[in-house]
Amino acid sequence: MLWIGYISKLRALGLLTLFLALIALATLSSHPVASQDPCSPEVLSEVVRSLEELSSKFVDVGEAVEYLDQLLKACSRGDVGEASSIYSRLAEALNSLREYSERGFQEVIAYRIAYTVSLALLPPLTYILLPRAYLYLWYLARRKWAVVGRR
């Protein structure tokens, strides 16, 4: 009986430890910003990489670059609290830009294709339509003219 009581206590303690570990893991994973040093080279490199990637997809990263500028200056001053606060805002800005980036990229490509097609059509349209338009205007300007037979 003593053995059974001891084992059940151990099992309860194990379950409690597992439960606490899961809570701690969930808390850490939901706050990735808090667990990282915003001034570490890895974090700064990751931010710059993200900015490069978004910039290559024609996303306006001006606001995020301003945050990075402030973050670097805060890190340079050794103000880790301010750096963490700026990094949180920067991470949010990057996340929202990432959501927009795919749609924005497709929009830019669609715009470029439409622009290219319209430009490519310009020479043949000029070749076909210019003489006709010119003739139409020429006749329009002379529609009140009377034709008189040459003597």
């Binding site: 710059v48 490069e52 990263v61 670097l72 890190c75 430009l119 310009l122 000029t126 003739l135 020429w138």
Partner: protein, 162 residues
């Protein structure tokens, strides 16, 4: 034909050229790009650099960082004092002397940052000698996570006086 054939040919040729230039400009691949650093006086104007300074005195200067790399960059400006031309940086190697101050920041593509800074002439500078106030531009390499010398620097010579 009422529309002169030669005029028509010229007009069509112009549209072909305009079309080709327009298409090329929109699909033009991004070049290598460049970064640059500029030094100016305390009014952020070129020309009126300090000629002389006493050891330990402070000078106000203006630095401009330009980015045309096609991507945003994080930059670091090192302030160094070179005692001779051999201690000046080159296009490939930074100055061998230790930095006295640093400034960091980030700048977007096709943008620049201009900021005032105060630098001090070293107290142990020899009176009567000339020293170069050197500003080197370093960039953060996001692949390696290290600051890499960009090959760009500016310097101005200052006569050390009492």
């Amino acid at each position: 034909m009422i529309l002169d054939e030669e005029v028509f040919a010229v007009l069509v040729a112009l549209t072909v050229v305009a079309s080709a230039v327009g298409i090329a400009s929109i699909w033009r691949p991004q070049g290598d790009g460049f970064v640059a650093i500029g030094l100016s006086d305390e009014s952020c104007r070129i020309g009126l650099y300090p000629r002389s300074a006493a050891p330990g005195s402070n000078l106000t200067l203006c630095i401009s960082v330009f980015n045309y790399l096609g991507r945003p960059v994080a930059y670091l400006v090192y302030y160094k004092v070179a005692l001779s031309t051999s201690q000046l940086p080159t296009n490939t190697t930074p100055s061998s002397v230790a930095p006295l101050a640093t400034w960091v920041g980030a700048v977007g593509d096709r943008s620049n940052r201009t900021f005032l800074l105060k630098v001090s002439v070293p107290r142990d500078a020899v009176v009567g000698s000339k020293v170069a106030l050197v500003f080197e531009l370093w960039l953060l390499d996001p692949r390696s996570g290290t600051w890499v010398y960009s090959g760009r620097w500016v310097h101005t010579w200052v006569q050390v006086v009492e």
